[in-house]
């Protein structure tokens, strides 16, 4: 019995040291259900999350080309547009694919906070009103870096259609006309009686 317990202890230590946690999503989203069986793309995809409170968050990956870190490039270009300066440490943290959503002036503060609980307080949503359409800027810069990325809209079932329509309008302004709406699978069939 003792050697087996030794082995379990070794395995446990191994996993404790090598596990890296998945970055926490900006908000909890309850997607609606549909019969669609197409699998949600998980590589080379721009995900726009629409929370229950109609706040909009963004997530995109570093692209299929491993020599170019798309998130890094996009952050640099975004910083130029809004006159922000990011240190190398902050840029490095940004490239780990976490979903985020805050106005441009809060990004630096979000990247600087070490504690994950305090960090969540900054996730107030990306502004997308006509006076300050930051979502438009993000999408434009991401599309320049990875033009073949698909767009997935992960919306909460209770989100207003108005908000999702606004997101779709911004996407169409950027010449994206095909979207994937993330849903849960349910089986439903029409029966003729």
């Amino acid at each position: 019995m003792t050697p087996m317990v030794d082995l379990f202890a070794l395995l446990l230590t191994f996993f404790m040291l090598t596990t890296s946690f998945r970055p926490q999503e900006a908000t909890i989203i309850d997607t609606p259900s549909s019969i669609s069986e197409k699998v949600n793309p998980d590589k080379n995809v721009i995900t726009i999350l629409v929370g229950k409170d109609d706040k909009v968050y963004l997530n995109f990956d570093n692209g299929s080309d491993t020599s170019v870190l798309v998130r890094k490039e996009v952050l640099k270009k975004f910083a130029e547009q809004y006159n922000l300066k990011f240190s190398d440490k902050e840029i490095k943290f940004f490239t780990t694919g976490a979903s985020f959503g805050m106005p441009a002036d809060k990004i630096k503060a979000w990247l600087d906070t070490p504690d994950s609980k305090d960090r969540e307080k900054f996730q107030t949503g990306i502004p997308m009103d006509s006076t300050d359409n930051q979502l438009n800027m993000w999408i434009r810069l991401i599309r320049v870096q990875s033009p073949n990325a698909e767009v997935a809209i992960k919306g909460d079932a209770e989100a207003d259609f108005k908000t999702v329509k606004h997101v779709m309008d911004i996407l169409q302004d950027n010449k994206v006309n095909k979207f994937n709406l993330t849903t849960n699978l349910t089986k439903d069939e029409a029966k003729l009686d």
Partner: protein, 218 residues
């Protein structure tokens, strides 16, 4: 691995000896079983990935004039209006304030509601697609998945009287309502549908304040 040992107590001049209890439970079979179960679940669990519903919107070109847009045949058109509180209405044809307004029907998302109406109008296409799918499942016809989806697309296009659905949502509609109605399009095998902007006359029809300029028919 349990052992209960009661130490012998020294008793002054006592003739009695304290009894030694020794309970030994062998846990090896249980641990074996747990090991097997863990290995089984480690190998057979597959995480369910989220699914995606594809939707394509027509190009939004602000320069396209109203008259340049392709006209849809009014007798094939069904307009579905979705509103808050899971309310859904539909009407046939066109809502032109200069003509008598069509009847707005309130329905719901259950299978007796909007689906019943859609199936009735789309019966030919629905039956044809379902027959084809059943044939492939039964094995009467063998084809690749891509061939099957291509044939279903062709079937959908073939019926010239199939309904054209225009989906319009007002401010109070929830995202779930939109996903549900697009799902119904897929369930009922509707060939052509589009999400368009709602017209002011339709907002009035929902509110019940629509007034037609045409004189009331006697």
């Amino acid at each position: 691995m349990a052992e209960i040992i009661q130490a012998e107590g020294k008793q002054k001049g006592g003739k009695k000896k304290a009894k030694k209890f020794s309970t030994h439970i062998d846990m090896t079979p249980m641990v074996d079983l747990m090991c097997l179960l863990i290995t089984f679940f480690m190998l057979t669990t597959a995480f369910s990935k989220p699914k995606a519903m594809e939707i394509t919107m027509p190009e939004r070109d602000d320069s396209t004039q109203q008259k340049d847009r392709p006209l849809v045949q009014a007798n094939r058109t069904i307009n579905i209006l979705i509103s808050g509180n899971d309310k859904i209405y539909y009407y046939f044809g066109v809502a032109d304030p200069k003509l008598p307004l069509p009847q707005l029907v309130l329905t719901n998302y259950s299978k007796d509601g909007i689906r019943k109406m859609l199936l009735k109008r789309n019966l030919t296409v629905f039956k044809a697609v379902r027959e084809l799918r059943d044939k492939v499942i039964r094995g009467d016809e063998v084809m690749a998945d891509s061939t099957l989806s291509r044939k279903i697309k062709e079937l959908k296009k073939s019926d010239k009287n199939a309904p054209i659905i225009l989906i319009k949502a007002d401010e109070k509609a929830k995202y779930k309502n939109l996903v549900d109605i697009i799902d119904e399009m897929a369930i009922c095998n509707i060939a052509s549908y589009a999400v368009v902007d709602i017209a002011p006359i339709e907002l009035q029809m929902i509110a019940g304040t629509a007034v037609s300029a045409a004189p009331a028919k006697k």
